[in-house]
């Protein structure tokens, strides 16, 4: 809290004091509140999926044959590797090696982009085989859930880009942002693992 | 530039007002079409070339000038920024509700134009378009109420020794807002004073609107020199 005397000696305006006090009042970054909430929301989607899978078991089993396990495995590997490079980036950052942290963050974004490209290719292959959103209930769940997931991948890529910019600029380096971005990216990875298990593997 | 042109925006308002009155008189009926008309009657109304031409002429003129009154409202919003809470969001609320009201009138205008466009359409469809027109014209008084309530509030909060508008503007806006409330329920009944051709929803609303605009023009005109002073929001 800036006392009036200090403020007077610094020549701050009332607005500047107010902004400084606000900044002090809100130190918590709070990504975990978002992650826990998001996991709950995704859990509700997965429960809905499980219920419909029970009700329309035959349709779901038949439709799942349209999915390619190869694509699924490749996507999973891309995200797992990206998580690994991100963990290495954080380790480098804690050790103060910001050059390595920058390269590893870029590599993470690269693997994230590989996932995006591969996922879009997979969708186009499926659509070209006549497996589209309105085909049946499974395809609705499949396209919608993977769509929501890829939206999260985009958010994660934006966060990683911001992290990269911060790592490059010595004035902005901030471990709190790095940890938030990493926690979010790992959540995206975790969600993909659940989606992969539910939609590709559980046949 | 001649000094008299400093207030072109405000001076355009009475001219636009007279054009509105003229366009209103061109419309084939002074009171709205009855909501109890059957589809065949409505189709016959728009099918009658004399009526259709007058609807089209009236609506084209309204279409040209439907946003014309914006000069008055923008000036009032500028004045709101010169009141003691002028740095706050009130002036923006006023602008937004004004835009909403104008959009709703524009929607009604287009529905009537489409209704008169193809008289050989199915009578049911003409009736639907005509209904949409009258409902969009009658019911969205909430935007006007929003304007009046926001302005009244700003006027009452203007507690300096030398207020921008007199207190009477605040009271006028409250009275106008109350007079416009029943019109929001104009779709409830098809007969009686609350129907869209009833005296509460139509005459009360239209006359309040006319008197309100004249009074607000006078208030804005009397306060016009305030606009030369900087606003508190700047």
């Amino acid at each position: 809290m800036a006392s009036p005397d200090i403020a007077a000696s610094l020549g701050l305006t009332a607005q500047e004091i107010d902004k400084a006090e606000r900044h002090e009042a809100n130190l918590v970054d709070g990504i975990w509140i978002f992650i826990v909430g998001d996991l709950f929301i995704f859990a509700s989607y997965f429960v809905t999926y499980a219920l419909w899978r029970n009700w329309e078991h035959g349709i779901f089993l038949a439709a799942q044959q349209h999915l390619s396990l190869g694509f699924g495995l490749f996507n999973t590997m891309a995200l797992l590797v990206s998580s690994w490079t991100l963990a290495a980036a954080l380790k480098a950052m804690r050790a103060g090696d910001f050059d390595a942290a920058g390269w590893l963050t870029l590599a993470t974004m690269g693997f994230g982009l590989v996932f995006v490209v591969s996922k879009i290719t997979e969708w186009s292959v499926e659509v070209s085989h006549g497996f589209v959103f309105t085909s049946n209930m499974f395809s609705q769940f499949y396209f919608w859930t993977t769509g929501v997931h890829i939206l999260h991948v985009f958010f994660g890529l934006l966060a990683l880009f911001r992290l990269y910019l911060e790592v490059k600029d010595p004035a902005c380096r901030n471990l709190a942002t790095a940890e938030s971005a990493a926690a979010f990216w790992h959540m995206v990875d975790l969600l993909w693992l659940v989606i992969f298990a539910l939609m590709y593997l559980m046949r | 530039m001649p000094k008299s042109l400093n207030h072109t925006l405000l001076l355009s308002v009475p001219i636009i007002g007279m054009i509105w009155i003229a366009a209103f008189l061109v419309f084939p009926t002074y009171t709205p079409m009855s909501p109890t008309m059957t589809a065949a009657d409505v189709a016959a109304f728009y099918g009658n070339p004399a009526n259709a031409t007058r609807v089209q002429f009236s609506m084209i003129v309204f279409n040209w000038f439907e946003i014309g009154m914006v000069g008055l409202y923008a000036t009032i919003a500028m004045q709101m920024q010169r009141m003691s809470h002028g740095g706050g969001p009130l002036a923006w609320v006023y602008m937004a509700v004004t835009l909403g009201g104008a959009c709703m009138f524009a929607a009604a205008n287009l529905f009537w134009i489409v209704a008169a466009y193809r008289p050989d359409r199915a009578p049911e469809a003409i009736q639907l378009l005509s209904d949409m027109g009258w409902v969009c014209f009658t019911v969205p008084t909430g935007f006007l109420i929003g304007q009046a309530v926001t302005l009244a509030f700003a006027v009452f909060l203007d507690d300096r020794g030398d207020p921008v508008f007199g207190r009477w503007v605040g009271y006028l806006n409250v009275v106008a807002a109350i007079a416009w409330i029943p019109a929001a329920f104009g779709a409830l009944y098809t007969t009686g004073p609350l129907a869209w051709d009833g005296w509460i929803t139509f005459h009360l609303r239209i006359w309040t609107f006319a008197i309100y605009n004249i009074a607000m023009f006078i208030a804005a005109w009397n306060a016009r020199h305030r606009l030369d002073k900087p606003s508190v929001a700047e």
């Binding site: 009332a14 607005q15 107010d18 902004k19 900044h23 009042a25 809100n26 918590v28 709070g30 509140i33 978002f34 909430g37 929301i41 989607y45 809905t48 959103f133 309105t134 209930m137 609705q140 919608w144 769509g147 929501v148 939206l151 | 909501p35 003691s84 809470h85 002028g86 740095g87 706050g88 969001p89 923006w92 609320v93 937004a96 909403g100 959009c103 709703m104 929607a107 049911e124 009736q127 209904d131 409902v135 019911v139 969205p140 008084t141 909430g142 935007f143 929003g146 926001t150 509030f153 700003a154 909060l157 020794g161 929001a184 329920f185 104009g186 779709a187 409830l188 098809t190 508190v232 929001a233």
Partner: protein, 272 residues
């Protein structure tokens, strides 16, 4: 307007009158109160008066649509009348947030505030009030051609669910500004949760394609989960705005600064 400010009186109404008269943030507080009022009115109108929510089945046949509009006709028109009378509250809520954005500490902050106001007010007009007109017109004459009633029925629900872009961009702007704001007018964790709000607008898009199942406009995912998340978020949002209004600096307004000084006793009414 000189003279000392009287002390805050006791008693509910007297206190309210005092704040309206002397609180330098009176306009902000009234705008804040308009948020719970507006959303309660909307909730009551949608869920209990008009029966518009929870949404009826998209697979209704003509006879069922006619029955829906016949059964709830009067309530629908009454409810939307109430909503239309009170619509300014919603505009106040949107513009309060837009104004608060303008008080943040990011580059070109006024542009962000204007963008928010325009996006949210535009969305309100098409997303919330379009349904009022289509529903009122449909319920006025349930004896209309059923095919036309069906058009109005679809227009109602698709304009309600399908106005995605305005709200998407409005909440996107708010989210970005909260996260980028150096002055932390809103806490950062709240900024993260705002991501849910604009993601909802992506998630609801299948409702304009499919007629039944969890992704239709009355489905488990596109309606129920979205609505629950939205309402929970809305409750947090009202509290966050409360603290933001408390925290926000007085605008650069000489009258207001003077009154604050008078309140804290730093300015004598008549300096010698």
């Amino acid at each position: 307007m000189t003279g000392a400010v009287p002390p805050i009186p006791s008693g509910w109404f007297a206190k309210m009158a005092w704040h309206l008269r002397h609180n330098p943030k009176a306009d902000l507080w009234v705008a804040w109160f308009s948020i719970p009022i507006a959303y309660n009115i909307m909730g009551i109108v949608y869920f209990t008066i008009t029966h518009m929510m929870p949404p009826p089945d998209a697979t209704k046949n003509h006879a069922q649509i006619v029955e829906f509009f016949t059964k709830f006709g009067f309530e629908i028109r009454l409810g939307f009348g109430i909503m239309l009378v009170s619509l300014a509250f919603l505009v106040w809520a949107n513009d309060l947030i837009g104004w608060l954005i303008m008080k943040m500490d990011i580059p070109h902050v006024k542009a962000w505030g204007y963008a928010y106001m325009i996006a949210m007010c535009g969305g309100g007009f098409t997303g919330a009030y379009m349904s009022a007109f289509t529903m009122s017109v449909a319920s006025m004459r349930p004896d209309r051609d059923p095919a036309m009633l069906e058009v109005l029925y679809d227009l109602t629900y698709i304009s309600f669910d399908g106005t995605m872009g305005f709200f998407l961009f409005g909440s996107l702007i708010w989210t970005y500004t909260i996260l980028a704001d150096k002055s932390r007018l809103f806490p950062k964790w709240f900024g993260y949760t705002c991501i849910w709000n604009f993601t909802t607008e992506f998630l609801v898009s299948p409702a304009v394609i499919v007629h039944s199942g969890p992704f239709s406009w009355n489905g488990t995912i596109a309606f129920w989960i979205d609505t629950v998340v939205y309402i929970l978020w809305q409750i947090v949002y009202v509290f966050m705005l409360y603290y933001a209004v408390k925290r926000v600096d007085p605008p650069q307004d000489r009258f207001r600064l003077k009154r604050i000084a008078r309140l804290t006793g730093q300015l004598t009414p008549h300096p010698a």
